[in-house]
């Protein structure tokens, strides 16, 4: 999608406002299952951003793995630990203030640095799924086959570890 069109700007600001609102609802909501649903919406809007940034393959992976895997897993855990029945207790005011202070300090450090930076502009080309696939299986110096294999091992270890930790004695 070309950046200069008005549709791009409207979509960007709309998605940005919606995802910030959903993120705020996620961290404030006292019913955990609803917080998981707001998290799902944030991830969905991020998938929309990936399409706008020219990587539709990543948008598909985001929906499949992040929403279809992780959010479902969170919902399972919420129901298995009976966290969906009672309202979560509110954090104390001191905790809320300290948390907001931490988040604001982070923003106060990064946003001026971002605004002051000038980086060269590129031709804004997108990435196709074929490029990603070829790069992941590339044995050369710029290939990513080693991290690919290591992540496969990590996922195997995570599956085995999850079964071992969560089984009934």
């Amino acid at each position: 999608m070309k950046v200069e069109t008005a549709v791009y700007s409207i979509l960007f600001y709309g998605f940005a406002a919606a995802s910030i609102l959903m993120a705020l609802l996620t961290v404030v909501s006292r019913r955990l299952l609803r917080a998981a649903v707001w998290l799902m919406f944030v991830l969905l809007f991020t998938a929309g951003f990936y399409v706008m940034l020219g990587v539709p393959f990543l948008a598909g992976v985001q929906v499949l793995v992040y929403i279809g895997g992780i959010v479902i897993l969170i919902a399972f855990a919420i129901m298995l630990t009976s966290s969906n029945e009672l309202l979560e207790d509110r954090p104390t005011l001191k905790r809320k203030l300290l948390g907001a202070l931490g988040a604001l300090i982070f923003l106060g450090i990064t946003i001026p640095v971002i605004l002051a930076s000038e980086l060269p502009n590129s031709n804004q080309s997108g990435v196709s799924a074929e490029e990603i696939g070829k790069s992941l299986l590339n044995y050369g110096a710029t290939g990513f086959v080693l991290p690919f294999e290591v992540v496969s091992l990590l996922l195997l270890a995570a599956v085995i570890g999850g079964i071992v930790v969560a089984r009934k004695k």
Partner: protein, 108 residues
């Protein structure tokens, strides 16, 4: 330092992901339920992956590396969530609660 224009630039995307990261940080620091803390972590990871792709799309000539980075972030977040949920389920079975303000002793 030129002012922030109306047409989205890489700075708009990076500021957006910084705001999402800060909101996730607030959720991580404030939540009492362990799964709520994990949702804050997921927000932060998602913001980081979005920032990688946004930077690469606007400033580099090879955005494929950032797409692969985001792919790995998603895969590692999935593995971490599996283990964390298994731990929380086992913890709930032992202590009947996953309120992090009440689980403060390490004896068996």
């Amino acid at each position: 330092m030129e002012p922030l224009g109306l047409v989205p630039d890489f700075r708009h995307f990076v500021i957006l992901s910084a705001i999402l990261f800060a909101i996730g940080l607030y959720g991580l620091l404030t939540r009492r339920n362990a799964i709520g803390i994990l949702m804050g972590v997921e927000l932060m990871l998602n913001a980081a992956a979005l920032q990688f792709v946004a930077f690469a799309h606007f400033t580099t000539t090879k955005p494929v590396e950032a797409a692969i980075m985001a792919l790995f972030v998603i895969a590692i977040a999935a593995a971490e969530t599996v283990i964390a949920m298994a731990i929380f389920v086992a913890l709930f079975r032992a202590r009947k609660s996953i309120d992090v303000t009440r689980i403060d002793e390490m004896r068996y």
